[in-house]
Amino acid sequence: MDDLLKDFVVETSEHLDIVDAELVRFERDPNNSATLALIFRLVHTIKGTCGFLGLPRLEHLAHAGEDVISGFRDGKPVTAPAVTMILKTIDRIKGIIAELERSGSEPEGDDEDLVHALRALANEPAGAPALVAAPPPASTIESKGNLSFQVLERSLREDEVTLDELERAFRDAPGPEMPPFVEPAPVAPPPPPAPVAEAPKEAPRKEKKAAPKVEAKAEPEAPEAQASNENSVSKQSVRVAVGTLDRLMTMVSELVLTRNQLLEIARQRDDADFKSPLQRLSHITAELQDGVMQTRMQPIGSAWTKLSRVVRDLSEELGKKIELIQSGAETEIDRQLLEMIKDPLLHMVRNAADHGLEMPDERVAAGKPAHGTIHLRAAQESGYIIVEVSDDGRGIDVERVKAKALRNGLSTEADIARMSDEQILRFVMEPGFSTAAAVTNISGRGVGLDVVRSHVEQVGGIVDLRSRAGRGLNVTIKLPLTLAIASALIVEAAGQRFAIPQISVAELVRTQESGEVRIETLNGQATLRLRQRLLPVVDVADVLNLPRQGGSLATGDKADDRLVVVCHVGGHRFGIIVDSILHTEEIVVKPISSKLRHMSVYSGATILGDGSVILILEPAGVARSVMENGTRETAAQSEAELAAELMSSAERSLLLLFRAGGANLKAIPLAFIGRLEEFEHAKIEDTGGRAVVQYQGRLMPILGYQPQAGFDLEARQPVLVFHQQDREIGMAVDEIVDVVEVSIQIDTSHATPGTVGATIIDGKAVEIVDVSDLVAPEGQEKPASDEQVDVMVIESSEFFRALFAPLLQNAGYRIAVLPSLQAARVAIARQKPSVIVMDLDQPGDEGFSFVRELAEDGTSPPVIGLVSRAGPRLIEKGKVAGLYDLVGKFDRQGLMSSVGDVLGGYSTTQWGAAA
């Protein structure tokens, strides 16, 4: 492709983007003659250049489009169909340009359809009732003849066009009719479309075509300030190939590295002669770096221009009224980063328009204005670029996300109960997660937000979601200023140094064996207790299989005095254990070899000041590698292990140990506890002899609360919160001791009122507290033994019988609880349950054969199997046997939703939903 053509393609694409955005603005504000003038000029330029380069198809289209636009100029009403038609034309032109760029010549084809439609528009009498106030009619009369003149044959030669234009320009040139044009300007001063960004694009146009006639009419129309601004900037800017800038940046990066090396040497040797020139070099390098980075900066608004068009099209397609507000469009951002976030931005805006914003009538019913607003915001804050997309739509329903996350097996009930809303919201950024009920043309295929996240994380950025139910969603992206240079923490593990990007580091802590901050093991996994929160921690040396002196954490050693880098990535906080923290350094991130790129624990490599190469750790990858190990282990289990798992770990569960009213340890299965909270004693009030506290906007009763004697109102009262149907109940405890995973062997013979029995943990007797009163309303009777029931529970353990019965009753089901399969066989015929919930842990293979028996019978109700942990192999086996679903014993939510599915009449099975 020759250079001229290449320039044309680049330039025209830029112009078209601007036209797109301007037209959308113009449609809303048709009285703004400055906008119209700008559009006209751009389209005219395209037309002129096409004629010059011999591109008849493009020229023809642009010409027809120009006619319609000139009709607007002449006072024709600006109607939505007309704007749509022009946008369509622009799309067609874009298509041709893309082909031109690829092949170097115009593609074959015919545009008569569009041209005819455009001509019809252009020839429409101007007297049609205007949707909007027409501009002053002064120029209307005068340009009429001109219009019919324009509608010539298709093969206009360039000189003809120019002549025609000249004539028009002559007529429109400043003269007696000028005042009406100037008049609207002060009324609606057009937000100057990022003049700095635009100026360089305009410069070559003026040079190349030297179209004085265009300017002649453009300048008097445009507000004075804009015109002069454009002129001054255009003279000072030069068009530079992006490749040149990138090369320059690479060289500066190298220079920075070399300078760092020199500084390192100078530190070691105390040479005064050396020092002052080095200081100067250092200074100049820093300035050069700033300068070169500046050349790579572009206002973020250039990525936004497309969005206004997208929003306009979406609002037509969806039948919603959407307004796009932009602020901070002038915020400058590295060109490379800009490219990387273009797609995520598009995704987010589409998401907001499609899912976020409600239909107008829905909005009005909710007391909101009929038109929805999407707000794009950008700003530079403390060394990062913050880009925000917010809408005032319905927001994300946290409860639905919870349910979906549980069903997709992304988390467990116990985990979710401990999560903040922000953390729960993050599930929507997991691959394949979409809460949209229907997949639409625009979005909802579950590939939206996870794409956004992966794009943003790829460039070292962070995505955050904030949802206010019913009031909208706010997505914030935090990006580094540039990709090339990053600040990093240099750490050491097992004798090797690594860099951790500063952007993901939240804080550094040192642990002590019995101090405030300490590392404890839970189920063989290390956790960090930090300010009363438990964070997962991973040891870099373990993750990377590095040999270390003195044993690793995974083997259960409680090492003290560890250094932990607490990272905050994607709403998750976790710790990375290192041996020492050396210093921070500005590093030039170099891509890692193609042969290592598949390793998610590294994001790149760099050369330090002393010349050594070190690897850059990707904190999210490090954390993920640990979690992946966990799942891989489950998948690799053999059939024999499977059976063993089913038997041995039968009743292993997480128990919360605490003390309340006495020195004895008490325990409650963690799965039944909604949350752990602490309240100041001062906040706990006494109403009618009952202790209550304001919790999530409501009053929550607290059982077992002992008012504190006068002093120390600052002290906090730990409270276990239980969810009961639609309200919460608190239970005051003296002290929360620990969470342990144990295999429960409950001795129910010691059951006393308020407990279901006792068990031995670490050699100590622990009372298991009866929570059935807390999770189920009182006063429900078990149905008689021959009455029809909804749910039949077959469970041999008294402990679980005591738990499930109130749970299901609480949900309003009629239930029958049976201890054995033999008893169940008799009872099924009589009580005709709609669903059977059974413990699969039966002697031998009896559990599964019972399921098969029922499945073959055909008339039997669906069976939901209970296992201690629903691994993928068990799920598979259960599926083969004919189970409806498989649920973990402590997965309360899973059980309830599965039972709900059956009784709610849904017939689809819920495979893989539990665990």
């Binding site: 590095l546 070899s593 290592l596 598949h598 390793m599 050369i607 010349g611 050594s612 190469v613």
Partner: protein, 161 residues
Amino acid sequence: MSAEQRMRRDMSIVDEIQLVSVRIEGQLIGLPITSVRDVFSITAMTPVPKADRAVAGLVNLRGHIVTILDLGYLLNSRRTERQSEQEPMAVGVEWLGEVFGLVVDEIGDVLSLSGDSSEPMPANMGTNWARFTRRVHKLERELMIEIDLHALLETMSLQAA
């Protein structure tokens, strides 16, 4: 014309070829000079934990990060035992715009050979050898194996790490 003769004729068309001779565990190996960029000694190498064992580490070669591959491991599927007296040497090769360093025991002369002196690999060589080599050159004193660098770097099964 027998198959062997035909092959010889085909190879002689290739004409002269220049090979950099290196030695790995006693075996003489030839690398086509067209893909060799430079030869350097490995000073400070950073190991890459958890990477494929064929990746020996990363070095700083005049401000560029170069991935060092263990040629012996690639060919023999076991880590090369090396005498610790001297710094290991590496041959820098360029492949798809990226520079890799191949660790070798010894670097020798550049030899100009013609196709006439060569034969296809004998069938009883190990699979890796058969896959990554082009042919055997019969030198006066010993045999030299000509490596197909493209095949070596392309089929390197590092993704399985």
